[in-house]
């Protein structure tokens, strides 16, 4: 798996990710010309991409790398999603609030990289706030590193989270007045209220 994600995963990705039935249906890999059919196709691809990224702990998806993985390439069928179609699906996900382009959308030959929101920053903010409440850590100073890398969060879904995404989630809590981030760029901490 050569997707770009800067943080380490909490463990090895699942040995077998169970793909949905549509994945084994050849037309699924071909852009459907009829508008309503294409919309349904995009929705199914969106669900698949989210589930796949969740299972493999992928936060950022590089399309050029992902085209060679089992996500977009079904070896059994010998079918592969084209770069243009993959871009279109990610763009659809962006309109649905489930993806966000990093840099210019689909820039150059690379095909672009996008955040895949299998949980939106708002949802991540909620999960972190819930953990803080549950472990009675309000008014406690925590480092950003310990939030995602310590043993204390090993069983949490945000363990091993991409640092950039963590910043986005914390900014949601800052705007709500539930947290304050402070410290130097590479050694930041957060205090929850």
């Amino acid at each position: 798996m050569t997707t770009t994600h800067t943080s380490t995963s909490p463990g090895p990705p699942p040995a077998t990710f169970s793909f949905p039935r549509d994945y084994y249906f050849p037309p699924f890999f071909t852009r459907q010309p009829q508008r309503t059919t294409f919309h349904a196709q995009c929705q199914k691809w969106s669900s698949l991409i989210q589930a796949y990224c969740r299972a493999h702990r992928i936060w950022k998806l590089s399309l050029v790398d992902a085209l060679d993985t089992d996500l977009f390439y079904n070896k059994r069928l010998g079918k592969r999603l084209s770069m243009a179609d993959a871009r279109e699906i990610v763009e659809f996900m962006r309109t649905e609030g489930r993806a966000e382009w990093i840099g210019k959308p689909g820039a150059g030959e690379e095909g672009g990289t996008a955040w895949i929101w299998w949980r939106t920053p708002e949802e991540w903010a909620g999960a972190i706030a819930e953990w803080i409440d549950g472990t009675a850590q309000k008014n406690t100073v925590l480092t950003l590193y310990e939030l995602t890398e310590s043993e204390a969060t090993a069983s949490e879904e945000f363990h091993g989270m991409d640092p950039e995404l963590l910043q986005k989630a914390l900014n949601v809590l800052v705007k709500r007045g539930k947290a304050q981030v402070f410290g130097q760029e590479d050694q930041q901490g957060v205090k929850f209220f």
Binding site: T140, K191, F193
Partner: protein
Amino acid sequence: MGNTPSSHKISAQDKAILDMKNQRDKLHQYQKRITVLTDREKAIAKEMLAKGNKQGALLALRRKKYQESLLSRTDSQLEQLEKLASSVEFALVQKDIVFGLQQGTKVLQEIHKEMGGLEHVEKLMGETADAIAYQKEVSEMLGGRISNQDEDEVEDELEAMEAELSSVPLPDVPAAELPTKMGVEAAKEEREEQGVRMLA
């Protein structure tokens, strides 16, 4: 930081705690790095030994041993940092508790001041007792007057009942003839004789 200003303040203590925790995190990362290095040295030693390079294997194991000594040293440093951070956090909790106790005591003293001290309370209790006694007297007086009034009402009610009863028709006089005096005396004598016979 570029964050929106918050009503919550980050104190100097918070910054100090963050510095300690950042130092702890650095040690954690350093330990991870050393662990990777020791694993690599072990793999190199095995590889060298398989190739028959005993000297190379020995060198790799020496490096591994040195890395392990660093690891144990960082362990004790990490423990010290953890303890220190915990102590500071606990001291902050204690500070809050002391502040809470101070506030509570202050409020209690204010309330006592408003109450006017023990003498005032004692005087008030005396006055209260007097007032209660006076009230009791008043109640008794009022109670007496009310009972006289009640008595009159009860008598009036009784008279009304009697008047009501007098209007009810009385039963007829019995028509049967009453026994004569002689008959009564004869019966009495007979009973006495029976009694004597029983005694005999």
